[in-house]
Symmetry: C2
Subunit: 289 residues, 2 copies
Amino acid sequence: MTVTAAAPGEGPLAMICGGGSLPLAVADAVAARGRRVVLFPLRGAAEGTPVERHSHHWIYVGQIGKFLRLARAEGCREVVFIGALVRPSIWQVHPDLVGLSFLPKVLRAFRGGDNHLLSGMGKLLEGEGLRLRGAHEVAPQILVPDGVLGRVQMTERDRADIALGLDYLHAAGPFDVGQAVIVAGRHILAVEAAEGTDGMLARMAEMRANGRVRAPRGAGVLVKAPKPHQDRRFDLPSVGPTTVEGAARAGLAGIAVIAGETVIAEPAAMTVAADKAGLFVVGVRGPAS
Amino acid sequence: MTVTAAAPGEGPLAMICGGGSLPLAVADAVAARGRRVVLFPLRGAAEGTPVERHSHHWIYVGQIGKFLRLARAEGCREVVFIGALVRPSIWQVHPDLVGLSFLPKVLRAFRGGDNHLLSGMGKLLEGEGLRLRGAHEVAPQILVPDGVLGRVQMTERDRADIALGLDYLHAAGPFDVGQAVIVAGRHILAVEAAEGTDGMLARMAEMRANGRVRAPRGAGVLVKAPKPHQDRRFDLPSVGPTTVEGAARAGLAGIAVIAGETVIAEPAAMTVAADKAGLFVVGVRGPAS
């Protein structure tokens, strides 16, 4: 993977923003590098995000025509899609004429799990003169670095669990299934698919509570990695304080992600949360990188 | 896989029985073939099973010495382990002297997911003069046959989902993860690990209810297969009426399992339940067989 540093000379960056803390973290990181950002927060997903600190235009998911017009007027030639978009109801879509033609692809693009559609989406936008970039390209400082982030270190047992998890994710990659597993004592205890990482962590907590999993608390690692052939412009794995909270409730020892290929939301807050919970967070080099 | 039909001349069969309806279904099937069975229902797991219709001796999980003595006294030279044993608390183990030496292995054997330990358990029992057999060997009529079981047929779309599910399970096999996935529209929506098949089906129902999965009801297949190198004497996948109920609540189109390598609890009840719910149940030949 080549990380290209964004230069101010590239003009303002359009960012279509779903929910969660990640979009603003990326926007701030891009702005900190001296590049202007223009946010396009999505109605029904990005409410509550303090978008006011950047230029912004609220849009409905379906308003592709409006987005293209405004992005051009703002002088944007590059666009990033970022953030969660769960369950846009049909009333939140509001397609304009251009949106009507894009609509099915947009909805599926945000759902994740389909590289072909996402790449197709990129091609369509490029046909409109906009280049699709990954958050990791425009704000490389938001990527998880190599090594342990906080004060808690891994044990040898954790390393073995991480190695097994990475091997599994690599083998499962061609099936376009989830990006994460929980491994404890060299057993895979949970595999992420449509439920998402937070859902899987909640299940792990439940399985410990009901005795289905008897591994002691403080054993087990959340291992998260991009799919081997994933288009990193769209769907880079991300972790943040919420991930730490979920992992702590699940009784895990720590979290391992791929250095340089994982976005970290609120790194300072995440490190504090991990130290407080006694969890390690580590960026490793995986078989997929 | 070679299926060896059990002959009455092999003497009575000892069956160590956990919970669920499967142990008695197997016992009845063995008895129907003219072979006497001696049940060893496990306290804390098999309560509620109407064991009275066969010879039986209640034992605690840890009473291996008692089991060996009684099994020999009954003239048994072969033993089958079958049924669920979730969460035996430490007070339910009651190890005798022999049990104390076997204990760690027994507990782990019932947990599933570790072929080496299970095979080791088989070797240990063989050292005691007992041969460990699989339920599929002693009662081949309890295996799912080739083809559709009830009245509901598969569509081409279902076939494609089944093929993808089997490919995934084959690829994931070396990782000793779960035996089942849910596939809809050629997307893997759920992967089973420590939560078990019923847990995964419940999650799928929940993901439909909360909108996380938007596949229409009546789409998606539960695909279940033995692990590629699984010791089939211990841990053959099983399905039954409960599986049908779970799949119906999850809004699936049907259930696909490997013919000849899947145990079916209460086949008649399961077929009735599937027909009533409008689900297909099919035995297929998988890449693992």
